[in-house]
Amino acid sequence: MRIAVLVTYVPDTASTIKVGPSGKAIDEAGIKWIISPYDEFAVEEAIKLKESKGAEVTYITYGPERDQQVLRECFARGGDKGVHVVGTGAAFGDAFAIAQILTAAVKKAGPFDLIFAGVKGVGSDQGLVGAMVAELLDIPHVASVTKIEYGEAGITAWREIEGGQEVVEVSLPCVITAQKGLNEPRYPSLKGIMAAKKMPVESVKVADLGLDEAALGGATCRWVSLALPPAKSAGKIIHGEQDPQAAARELARLLREEAKVI
């Protein structure tokens, strides 16, 4: 079995966000980069499958030079190969442009029986790339998956929906987007971290895939501007340490008469 995992490097979720000089993207100074949290579930699932059934795991990422590191971080947990599509970042924030680049990379490194992605990339929070890659490859996908059973011809996936789960039988090849609950991502071992440095990474340029990054970027989604949200004015504080009953009464009154929400 051959598995691809699409992984992306994102700002640590605890980062302070500042608007950069372009006014359209963040200021990257001082940002710590991490594997997108949902991609960790995707990585773990692929490694578990390799361990239980035998598989070759290829990580694929598209991004600037520094993103080679995300592949190293994945290797520290397991896996076999890495493909880094090195770009200028022109396609950042444009899910369809990214999906076209990743699809070309998947085709070049493939074929694959299973492709894992995260349900969404934290930060740009699009939640689109997995389904788009599946469509471009003309294969099925199951999104927001919290459990998988692997059968002979296909897999059964539990997918999170409002108020419940859909249990889906899907044939291979397909794309699965990972949701929290799918597994417990392991921590990299020291041995893994050392070994990761020597793992093979194939570096390709977007042009090597026959695509024009500058033309793609922003063709289907442009970030016109980026702003910090307006500061919220201070709320009303009710002290309920002494008389919780009175505090509760006052809160209920405010919610009914002032906020008019109950």
Binding site: A14, T16, I17, P37, G93, D94, A95, F96, V122, G123, D125, Q126, G127, L128, V129, G130, M132, A134, E135, L136, P140, H141, A143, S144, E160, I161, G163, G164, Q165, E166, V167, V168, E169, V170, G218, A219, T220, C221, R222, V224, L226, A227, L228, P229, G235, K236, I237, H239, G240, P244, Q245, A247, A248, R249, L251, A252, L255, A259, V261, I262
Partner: protein, 323 residues
């Protein structure tokens, strides 16, 4: 014919509230330009439902009604939508940013080779182009985005953000050509979490509990308050990771992103990853014994106190107000 095409999501023959919101917002934008709103409904036995969509401003409703479409399938539904796009030639396709809408939007956009503006909280015209605002970086920034050269542009609208408003029309109902549903994807079963439980992603009011609850049994306090308010039960990751409640209830970065009218956070400190999921709520209430807890910075109303005393008292007060 230009216009805005709205995918109307239904489950078991009921239109989702978030789809009415999407229709209403489409109507508001379309009116400004004198263009029509067109709806599309996909499912099995949904034809009757189509004619009611005129009440929500749809001038035309396309219907894909086939037994094989009873359950959501990304490829089949995207095919039905693409054929409605072919008929209506809209400038934009709107979907509610629900589990189905978010997923379908990606598939559809790639099929049409256009862009998608996901999970937006505001939409406006910039000349003849639609511009949208979406929270990014856990709500720590707001991006104004457009679809570049995309025609149409696919937009998903965050539930509970846009007001639903009727706008009566007589809708012309038209059947779409049958979708050739491919094999390889089959919904075997739909499992409901717990009968009668509201999902946080759709609720108007949410009462959430965190580590301050100290144990799973104390979620009963949260449930009780939620019941009198007609609210859904939410949770912080700390409560979920401790195994006190199912992940489906988790609000935040790695849980659900919600925008209720009222969000009541009980025993939740207000970590940035939690705020990522709820900071666009209209009114935020925090109940916490620590006056320095960061949740108070985003709260419209805060009660400093012991939740074990405040919540039951609040439940009682709300019950009084409601009777």
């Amino acid at each position: 014919m230009a216009g805005i095409l709205v995918f109307v999501e239904q489950r078991d023959g009921h239109v989702r509230k978030a789809s009415f919101e999407a229709l209403s917002e489409a109507k508001r934008l379309a009116q400004g330009k004198g263009i029509p709103v067109v709806a599309v409904v996909v499912g099995s036995g949904v034809r009757g439902l189509a004619s009611t969509l005129g009440d929500w401003g749809a001038e035309k409703v396309f219907v894909a009604d086939q037994p094989e479409l009873a359950h959501y399938s990304p490829q089949a539904y995207a095919q039905a939508l693409a054929s409605a796009v072919g008929e209506a030639q809209p400038q934009a396709v709107f979907l509610a940013a629900t589990a189905m809408g978010r997923d379908l939007a990606g598939r559809l956009a790639a099929k049409l080779k256009v862009g998608c503006l996901p999970d937006v909280t505001a939409v406006r015209w910039d000349g003849d182009t639609l511009q949208a605002v979406r929270p990014v970086y856990s709500g720590k920034a707001l991006a104004t985005v457009d679809g570049g050269k995309s025609v149409p542009v696919v937009v998903t609208l965050r539930p509970n953000v846009f007001p639903a408003q009727k706008s009566p029309h007589t809708a012309e109902v038209m059947a779409l050509p049958p979708v050739a549903v491919r094999g390889g994807y089959k919904v075997k079963e739909v499992v409901s979490l717990q009968a009668g439980e509201l999902d946080v992603a759709e609720a108007d009011i949410i009462v959430s509990g965190g580590r301050g609850l100290r144990g799973p049994e104390n979620f009963a306090l949260i449930r009780e308050l939620a019941k009198v308010l007609g609210a859904a039960v939410g949770a912080s990751r700390a409560a979920v990771d401790a195994g006190w409640i199912d992940h489906a209830h988790q609000v935040g970065q790695t849980g659900k992103v919600v925008s209720p009218t009222l969000y009541i956070a009980c025993g939740i400190s207000g970590a940035i990853q939690h705020l990522a999921g709820m900071s666009s709520s209209k009114v935020i209430v925090a109940i916490n014994k620590d006056p320095e807890a960061p949740i108070f910075k985003v709260a419209d109303y805060g009660v400093v106190g012991d939740l074990f005393q405040v919540i039951p008292a609040l439940t009682e007060e709300v019950r009084k107000l409601k009777t």
